[in-house]
Amino acid sequence: MTAPAGPLGLEARDLTVRYGRKTALDAVDLSVPAGSITGLLGRNGSGKTTLASVAAAFRRPTSGAVLVGGEDPWENDDLLPRVLLVRESGDVIDTETLRSNLRFAEDCRPAFSREVAERLMDRFELDPGAKPQKLSRGQKSAFGIVLGVAARADLTILDEVHLGLDAPSRYAFYDALLEDYVAHPRTIVLSSHLIGEVERLLEHVVVLDHGRVLLAQDADALRVTGVSVTGPVREVERFVVGRTVLGRQRLGGTAQATVLATLADGEAADARAAGLDLGPVPLQDLFVHLTADGAADAARELGRA
């Protein structure tokens, strides 16, 4: 059986990975829709890089399975040229020039676009004659991005590729990724701690926490599941009764609460009439609340919603 041409979805079934006595992924079930840009979010040590490594066949699961386009990627000759993992470590040949590294990538990536690679090399002001070992942290990241975008792999996993990049370069990265994705659809898994910056690029979000899936959801649905309420303490307290409260702050007579709720128009109007300010909760804040210790119940509620 061969996976169909085009964007490759990713699926994990009861996937467990242990490093000695440490469990990095604990019976993970998740799926990344083919053709989506999916955010893989999680705190340090949550298992993001392990999941990426198993998906790209850099590592074998301890138990369970990972499927790429419905197939096991391990030593799968047909699949592997179509799956690309770019790690922050770069995975380039340190003693060869960037030009040679690009040529190598072109040889083993069927959809590689030299034109895109050259344009991005210019955009990031990378010298094709330089060797990776001479590059700064930011330049190494930029080269990883060049490879990641130009390879046009049907499953492209970008794991913390923005490290050391300044803000203008990160925006150039987002623009290049989006433009090339639109022209050449593929599945992109984007792992980043800069949630505020990447959230609008995402169609789907997977949050890992301590090796488990905290939630896996459509990003637009997730964006409207949180409400922040600000106003007089008494009114805020009245509003949150019976709702799941993710966070609370109080300053003098004013309180703010972040609750899991999608308000009906009437509820919102009532709240405003009571002197409450309602606001959206950015994905990053939702993430911070949900991955805080003791927030697992709230996350489960969200997962069921």
Binding site: S36, I37, Y171, Y174, D175, L178, E179, Y181, V182, R200, L201, L202, E203, A219, D220
Partner: protein, 99 residues
């Protein structure tokens, strides 16, 4: 402009941009012509204006009144300002038409 251009211009996921357009089609503001593109429905500007009028006082004017009260600005001052602004912009528009 295509939905793709919206996505790259505003740096948002193309699916999000497509959803926004689908919503406008559902609301009858836009309509699709297969193979040609999307167009603004006849009467859509009037409908949007009518909807805007419905929410204008509750969403725009009432908060201004609340804000003015909180700052201790008499309502008469607010009204005078609105009249002055309207007179000024009406004048500008006539100048523009004349030149």
């Amino acid at each position: 402009m295509s939905t793709t251009q919206y996505a790259t211009t505003f740096r948002i996921n193309p699916a999000t941009a497509a959803k926004a357009f689908a919503q406008l089609v559902d609301d009858g503001i836009l309509y699709k012509r297969r193979g040609v593109g999307m167009f603004v429905a006849p009467g859509a500007p009037d409908r949007l204006r009518a909807e805007g009028r419905e929410t204008f006082f509750a969403e725009t004017v009432d908060p201004v009144a609340d804000h003015a009260r909180a700052l201790g600005i008499p309502l008469e001052d607010v009204i005078a300002r609105l009249r002055a602004h309207a007179a000024r912009t009406a004048g500008d528009r006539q100048d523009g038409a004349a030149s």
